[in-house]
């Protein structure tokens, strides 16, 4: 290869290598901030900050959803199978919110360690399948909900 070209190729490789290192170090330093939410285990262990708004993400525990009869308040447990956090939310929940499904709730912890959410987002998983297939799998994976055409609002 022509020495001039070789030198330019080396410069190009250096550009990519140095910028990768820089971005890599920045994202390593900020890794806590890049995470969108804290897992319930961290919150239960007191690793999550209590003085500011945070997000908690995990699975809604089966049978834990309690809806208020007088207002839109819903109380449910969120788990990552290591820890559990009790979440209280007043408002309209997304269509995909269900027991055994993923959620990301933003809000803050009150003094009793209960998470007072101001927003609840549904986190869906990467599985896509027709309703029939889901129904056939129902026996094996009890966490999956069934889809009805008229469901939702």
């Amino acid at each position: 290869m022509h020495p001039k070209r070789k030198q330019r190729l080396l410069i190009a490789i250096c550009i990519v290598a140095f910028s990768s290192t820089a971005i890599g170090l920045v994202s390593y330093a900020l890794r806590g901030n890049i995470n969108l939410f804290y897992p319930p285990a961290d919150v239960a262990a007191g690793k999550a900050p209590t003085d500011r708004a945070i997000r908690v993400g995990g699975m809604v525990v089966e049978g834990s959803i309690k809806r208020s009869e007088t207002d839109l308040t819903t109380v449910f447990l969120v788990t990552d199978y290591d820890g559990v956090v009790e979440v209280s939310y007043t408002g309209i929940l997304p269509d995909l919110f269900a027991e055994g499904e993923g959620v990301v709730a933003s809000g803050s912890l009150d003094s009793r360690g209960r998470f007072m959410a101001t927003e609840v987002l549904a986190k869906h998983d990467e599985n896509y399948m027709p309703p029939e297939v889901a129904a056939a799998l129902e026996g094996k994976k009890p966490k999956m909900g069934s889809y009805n055409v008229g469901e939702g609002s």
Binding site: I11, I23, P39, E101, L121, M129, P130, A134, V149
Partner: protein, 243 residues
């Protein structure tokens, strides 16, 4: 291999190549887009959780996949322009950036429209979505840089450096859902092992991805050919080509 690169670098050869490639790509891409859309939007079954709203996947995923791959193509063109000073590589970079920006924009907008009914939010600052927004700005940056210089050689150099620096972002976008806790779900199509998407939905999705790759190639070739027509409008080879 080098002989192909040399031929590609010659404007008359590339012009003839583009003419043939466009003539072949146009009907194939149109057919794939029509078949893929009908298959995905009408024939594929609804999802067990999301019903019919998941069907936006047939636009969202192909646009995002090709936006990412397109960036590597642009960075490769940038490398060739920087190291080997190939003029056609500059043309390719300039032709690519707006197409990549448009695809990234489509991925962001369809993701937003999809996010509202499924997640409950139009926009969330999670790692995947934010890094995708950075990709959009990188494409816009290359477009702006190529216009910012009067000297074409200086412009090409600046664009090449920016596109090389930006390649850092591509693995970050791809792995963001695995490295950090994000709202966006992990990839459904897996290169190794069984995909998390049912075959009845996977095949139309793969067809749409192929169609979007074709659409990308077609659009870039059309733009490159247009630039050749402008740049070499006074050249003898182009006149004889057109007559």
């Amino acid at each position: 291999m080098w002989s192909i690169v040399h031929k590609m670098g010659s404007p008359p050869w590339f012009y003839r190549f583009a003419n043939v490639a466009i003539a072949w790509l146009l009907p194939i891409v149109l057919m794939a887009l029509v078949v893929g859309s009908i298959w995905g939007l009408l024939i594929a079954p609804p999802d067990y959780r999301q019903g019919n709203s998941y069907r936006i996947i047939f636009i969202h995923v192909p646009a995002a996949v090709v936006a990412l791959a397109g960036y590597y193509v642009m960075a490769t063109a940038g490398l060739m322009s920087l190291v080997w000073k190939i003029k056609m590589a500059d043309t390719a970079m300039r032709a690519l950036a707006p197409v990549g920006a448009a695809l990234t924009f489509v991925a962001l907008v369809t993701g937003s429209i999809w996010g509202k009914p499924t997640w409950g939010a139009w926009w969330v600052w999670d790692a995947r979505i934010t890094s995708m927004l950075i990709l959009f700005f990188l494409y816009l940056g290359v477009m702006a840089l190529s216009e910012a210089f009067d000297n074409k050689v200086a412009a090409a150099k600046a664009c090449a450096v920016l596109s090389l620096v930006g390649t850092v972002n591509i693995p970050i976008i791809y792995k963001s859902v695995d490295w950090w806790y994000s709202l966006h779900q992990p990839a459904s199509i897996k290169f190794t092992g069984e995909s998390a998407i049912d075959a009845s939905m996977l095949y139309p999705l793969l067809l749409m991805i192929v169609a979007f790759y074709g659409l990308f190639a077609l659009t870039v070739l059309l733009r490159m050919r247009a630039e050749l027509l402008i740049t070499y409008s006074q050249s003898a080879w182009l006149r004889s080509e057109l007559s």
